[in-house]
Symmetry: C2
Subunit: 256 residues, 2 copies
């Protein structure tokens, strides 16, 4: 009987382990497995389509990709993707011979390039909820955005190397001027050359047109735009885009 | 004793199941899990970096991403990614009001856009081995490339809709002219307007420059390039790129 009881206990133990292994695997499948019945491979394809700019325009993340996008944003892969891009940018930077006349520039976007809005977007189900200008304005006015560490690291290295950094944001100057300066400062973005914000003249203009105009003005002033960093294709497309562009990931929202 | 024996058999059965579940999970982790110890999350980031054109130029797939890229290419995700892109292209196509003067065009690349070289690249470890012009030439001269089904489907729908399809390839005209025409035909690519191949005048020219020149000539002839499909950024960048571009995935090789 002792053997039988021991066998039963062992069976229960093994069943518990098996159940755990299967549940871990099941959760894993939901997030990562193309063959899973809820078809997250669609979400893989959707995110790639968004990042490569094949899917456009888009207003919200497909609701069945919420779990996948949340997992992507907060469980390390987003940071890992950013780090690889920053390594590429650094490698490119190290190969540039500067003119050294104070006109060697990089253009860098602010939201979700320097400063992260992931905390805010968590409350908007990582982009599954539609864009909410009132709530976003209230969030941005708090000045609580956090630095994206790998971008801050590149930012500092670019300054050390002698580049002039131009921060170019679609944020409305009348509303966000002071808070943006403070938020950048309290997150360590110190020593940039200029912060360009959207003036009344460009209100309602698309990101591509507004940012192209601003970059063209920089070139007209004599700046050479060596690099251009942004999480939206509208940061990088249009004209005067810069000698090389770097698209940072952002599967949460789309700015035309 | 019967109970004890039954218990032992059950234990063995459960152990076998557990072992299977764990081995499936382990294989799964190697391919898909960012937290896995062999760090495939780097390969995720690398592939995204390549597809988004942040990583450039690059000559070979990192060797420790071989398993990941093989899995991506042959276990369904590549096809799924292509299908989503073709759906986007179709949606865009359906919204176009044609001029109907015979000058509404799409430009489409050939290798790994219409015709797949995955079978060849399998022998080159999906791009982990360096580019081998002699072997690729021998492969392409066989005319054994297979149609990419979702692209062929779009191809046919574009023709049905009344668009003129211009196939624009970097393949050398002197070497591959006849075999390319035959390979396209035997794979069902029938009814296109023109096949433009690289003439002696453009030998050694970068893909961006050669393809931009060809597209500019098409525009000079009066064609409106509504869409432009290619697996390389050099198919889509430069000038006269078309009203909308679609980047097809290709993590196996890079053409400047």
């Amino acid at each position: 009987m002792a053997t039988t009881h021991g066998g039963e206990i062992l069976i229960i133990l093994i069943l518990a382990l098996l159940s755990k292994a299967i549940s871990i695997r099941a959760r894993h499948q939901i997030i990562n497995d193309p063959s899973s019945s809820i078809n997250p491979s669609f979400c893989f394809s959707w995110r790639l389509g968004v990042e490569v700019n094949n899917v456009l325009p888009w207003s919200t993340v497909p609701i069945h990709c919420l779990q996948y996008i949340e997992d992507y944003m907060i469980h390390g892969q987003y940071e890992q993707d950013l780090e690889l891009i920053m390594e590429q940018a650094l490698k490119y930077m190290n190969g540039i011979v500067l003119y050294g006349d104070g006109m060697d520039a990089w253009v860098i976007d602010v939201d979700d390039t320097c400063l992260s809005n992931v905390f805010y977007y968590k409350s908007k189900r990582y982009g599954c909820d539609p864009y909410d200008p009132v709530a976003f304005r209230a969030w941005a006015l708090k000045g609580w955005c956090t630095a994206i560490p790998s971008v801050l690291d590149l930012f500092n290295k670019l300054i050390d190397q002698g580049f002039k950094l131009i921060l170019l944001t679609g944020r409305d100057q009348d509303i966000f001027h002071q808070v943006t300066i403070q938020n950048l400062h309290n997150q360590g973005f110190i020593g940039y050359e200029r912060l360009i914000m959207r003036s009344a003249a460009y209100k309602g203009e698309s990101g591509v047109k507004y940012k192209s105009s601003m970059r063209k003005q920089l070139e007209d002033e004599g700046y050479r735009i060596w690099g251009n960093l942004g999480d939206q294709w509208s940061d990088l497309q249009g004209y005067s885009s810069g000698n090389r562009t770097f698209k940072l990931p952002n599967p949460m929202y789309f700015v035309p």
